[in-house]
Symmetry: C2
Subunit: 173 residues, 2 copies
DNA sequence: CAATAATTTCTCTGATTTCAGAAATATGAA
DNA sequence: TTCATATTTCTGAAATCAGAGAAATTATTG
């Protein structure tokens, strides 16, 4: 699919934002392109539209699959793989947050736990207390993420649109 | 303040995590160090404890101040500036999330809006619809963040600890 | 208003990351 | 199995980023 200047501008912006989110510019651009596509497209198509190396597109697609932001599709009579982006922005946001959370807290609970044990053994109660607090935070974050995975995206949209009101409700509980 | 091996290990881990959060390793290490300090310390102290260049510590402290994770303190009869970290982990998490959200969506709404206008002018309704959805997501994120700023940290702790139960409640609204 | 101590900003180097192109591998049809 | 083509992995160049040290600036005290 050929793209207009407006689409190009959006994709460039999206790539720029990606870098601030710890996602490579070209990866975010591939995602932006797929988000604007009406139907599934193949890797070669992405290359020519964005003027990126084939290898780069391949790596980007793999990354996006890990985020579960794109899905593969196969067309009969065509051996190439076609890709589509998750089109619902709420689902998109949710998956990005989930994968980021996973990457960013991966192993952190265990690591802090290890330090905590050592601090206790040494009888350093101040340090132990600080680490314990950190530990509680990290494991709560994991628990919330786990719980969140069990609810539909529509719920998050609802919650987000309620915004401040929701927090007001919680305050009254 | 001199630090034990356990503390050193924690700080190193914290620094490592920082890099995955888009925060420089040394910045996160300075933060980790301050988090483990019983009282306010000065920059020189941080340098010697972590074996970092004075300039690096200065830059890190400035960064941490922007995150509002550390505060300055002055001692009478001492012209040097002393620093303390916010010790409550929930407050800490909140401020990190707030600053990250700010950095990561900075200008995004305006940029997408610009593209959206162009797409509409060109009569490209498909592209316009996609951009509109993205726009809604981004501005909702900003609204939620704004609303959140008006509530006390204790509320977030409460909400987080409720975890899945809270989502169940929202589902029933 | 010095003199001196504290802090910040600037510049440069080394490490890391991104990404294009080449080489290798995998897949499917005949 | 062989051929053609799609895809992935490897490699090196270019860009970016972190962090040390020097230079400049700011603040404090006599």
């Amino acid at each position: 699919m050929q793209i207009s200047d407006t689409q190009k501008r959006f994709i460039r912006r999206w790539g720029e934002m990606g870098t601030r989110w710890g996602i490579a510019r070209s990866t975010a651009m591939v995602h932006g392109y797929l988000y604007l596509c009406r139907e599934a497209v193949n890797a070669e198509d992405i290359c020519s539209a964005l003027e990126l190396a084939r290898s780069n597109v391949s790596t980007s697609l793999k990354e996006l699959e890990q985020f579960r932001l794109v899905e593969r599709e196969s067309k009969s009579g065509d051996r190439r793989t076609f890709y589509v982006a998750v089109s619902d922005v709420w689902e998109m946001a949710r998956r990005i947050l989930e994968e980021r959370r996973r990457r960013e807290t991966e192993g952190a609970v265990a690591a802090v736990n290890e330090c905590l044990r050592a601090a206790k053994e040494e009888g350093d109660s101040f340090t132990a207390a600080r680490m314990e607090a950190m530990q509680e935070l990290l494991s709560t974050a994991e628990n919330v993420a786990d719980a969140a995975r069990r609810y539909p995206t529509s719920l998050f949209r609802k919650a987000a649109l309620m915004g401040g009101k929701l927090l007001g409700l919680i305050a009254k509980l």
